[in-house]
Symmetry: C2
Subunit: 401 residues, 2 copies
């Protein structure tokens, strides 16, 4: 008998038919003797509908009230699933964020999880009930409802798995595992049986949207084994854990992120502290930057380029212009027709020739590289957005076919 | 400066336009210096939609999970109203049943309120915030969500007003007060400036659907002054309080209840305890009965007739048939084309001739009376359903025109 946490996303619980299908998946695991905790997202479209209702009233609603509003979506999901399981004759109990003691800080809309109480969930599991937990939501020390933002219900599922010391945290999605590349882009993409936390984090950071890196980082920190699998097919997915148990190719995947824009600050003074000033003002505005490239010119002025999420481009440029006199630069150039293409693999950097093979593959299909960034387990290149899909296919063919 | 509790129903918060209109009503009262607590229902249709979602999955969902599901409707309403008030620059905070400490017993779907904590609401009012309370919902001692059933958000509003010792509890509806008869039936119906708790309770019990008697009973017990007024018109409504402050006609209203059926049990033995047995088995099944009439025949067998809610007719007859051998009777006759028409007025019984005038008015329009029931402040007659509207008009003309 194992303790298993299962998470289903909004499309898996979108309507009565979906709810019944998921109920059977839960029933099967429960009937095998497992203790089962299920984390659910809001039904597909519910969150968007609530957001549009709010913005019809006020284009700058407070984050506190948005959290009160949006958390109703997950609460409705867990109640509906409990009702579905009751129909199958299974004992189930739905619980909200505050009911399970999902304690967070007070950063409404993007709260950090501080602790998860286990008494209530354990008491229900001891009674052999299926515990249904509303994802995405928590409660702060003032007893106010919060939502946890990035990673949402995936992160709830891992946090619950950590708190209960679960044997496995299964993330059910509309794909059946982690692939060597996006199967919609690359027809020969292969499903991986397993992948390490670090590789998964890099793949997520480089644009693979199956799992959010936040949830994987938490799973890695506490050693919770994850599995990504399909809510439609009844077959094993991809295990995410500390060490791969079988040998496999050094590259675990190719990823693309097209939601990027590049900012180039031209003519900054070649003196200490300038980069610090630039990234401090951006960090103060809570905007994330990604790849950074600094190039030295022949004269005394330098350029510095970096990438930001495309939706942050306008506000980042505004912030920089407001601080022009403090930072000191001559002009800002931007581009939003770029994409990042990455290869990810544990220990890749210790295998000679991977980078060369990557650049060769791109050269062969005439893809121009604008910026390069590397880490221990990934190499990313910035390319023209129109070249990105061709680059992904070429890299996948080079390393997997 | 007064402390005012305002309650708005589902049709008053149905969409963005309605929410904005209600927000202005709240803003006006707040700007006059009052402390304002607002109790809201779920947006119109939301509750019905949630119920139909649940019944699509399971035609006998547990009451616990239905309460988890339905309580999301009121939670969404208060968040949306807070967001609307923020747009007007007003400080508002939404609170759920568990957040205000609306403590109930564990009778899911029809929980009784045990106590209302005031710390959180008082702290928010001290900060001059408008407090928005989700109606209809509470929390039991296990930290499970409950709903309070009959009277719903009206009862929440009065309970909050009692707990906070509010100066006034205003119930906003789609009519602008309590009328001497249903204005849709009687074109000369007049709005009352005030009415006593007892009269209001009788009117509600006799079919007037503006206020539920449960909320008025609670207001009476704790002496909270209520006002029923329109959420559309900006004018005074009808005050509901212990004693009328101005003299008025002895009859305060004419009411109709068509949601009735009559059950006649024929041929019961004329011996002690038979009536007890009948009403005990019905009470055990938690069905309410209303008017009872026992008639003695010439022989040793009697008949007994009573009314029940129309939706309970089938199950009440089943219960009686199951217990036929215990009770002892020859047959059951039923009718569901009946209606109850009542006149209500404090001290009515001490004014001679009221009953006679009532029966005369009905005789004049050829309405046959099937049963009569009286109390200190009301006279009800059972008539054929097709005669009911004519009876209401005739009575209103007799006593008010």
């Amino acid at each position: 008998m194992a303790l298993i946490v299962k998470k289903f996303g909004g499309s898996s619980v979108a309507n009565a038919e979906c709810l019944k299908r998921v109920a059977w998946t839960i029933a099967e695991s429960y009937s095998e003797g497992n203790n089962v905790v299920v984390v659910l997202s809001a039904q597909a479209d519910t969150t968007d509908e609530l957001i549009s209702k709010a913005f019809e009233l006020n284009d700058t609603p407070s984050k506190r009230e948005m959290d009160v509003l949006l958390s109703t979506g997950e609460q409705a999901s867990v109640a509906l699933m409990a009702i579905t399981l009751e129909k199958l004759g299974l004992p189930a109990v739905s619980l909200t964020g505050w009911q399970i003691g999902m304690n967070t800080d007070s950063a409404y809309g993007s709260a950090r999880i501080k602790s998860v109480a286990t008494e209530r969930m354990k008491a229900e599991l001891d009674r052999r009930r299926i515990v249904l937990v509303a994802g995405f939501q928590g409660v702060n020390k003032y007893d106010d409802i919060t939502t946890i933002g990035r990673g949402g219900s995936d992160t709830t599922a891992v946090a619950v798995a950590v708190a209960l010391n679960a044997d496995l945290c299964q993330i059910y999605t509309d794909v059946d595992g982690i692939y060597t590349a996006d199967p919609r882009l690359v027809k020969n993409a292969k499903k991986l049986d397993e992948i390490t936390y670090d590789e998964m984090i890099e793949l997520a950071a480089q644009g693979a949207q199956v799992l959010h890196s936040r949830s994987v980082e938490m799973a890695k920190r506490y050693g919770v084994e994850m599995e990504v699998l399909s809510s439609l097919k009844r077959e094993p997915g991809t295990k995410v854990r500390g060490v791969n148990k079988v040998e496999h190719t050094k590259i675990s995947g190719v990823a693309k992120d097209a939601n990027l824009a590049r900012v180039s600050i031209i003519g900054i003074r070649d003196e200490p502290g300038v980069a610090f000033k630039i990234f401090r003002v951006i960090a103060n505005a809570k905007k994330n930057i990604d790849i950074i490239l600094q190039s030295a010119n022949n004269n005394s002025a330098n350029d510095i380029s970096f990438t930001v999420a495309r939706e942050d481009l306008v506000s980042v440029v505004e912030i920089l212009e407001e601080n022009k006199s403090i930072i000191g630069f001559s002009e800002i150039k931007t581009s939003d027709n770029i994409a990042k293409v990455s290869i990810v693999g544990a220990g890749m950097m210790s295998a000679p020739g991977i980078a060369a093979a990557m650049f060769e593959a791109l050269y062969d299909v005439k893809v121009n590289i604008e910026m390069i960034a590397t880490s221990e387990i990934k190499i990313s290149v910035l390319v023209n957005e129109n070249d990105a899909d061709r680059a992904v296919s070429a890299l996948h063919e080079k390393f997997f076919d």
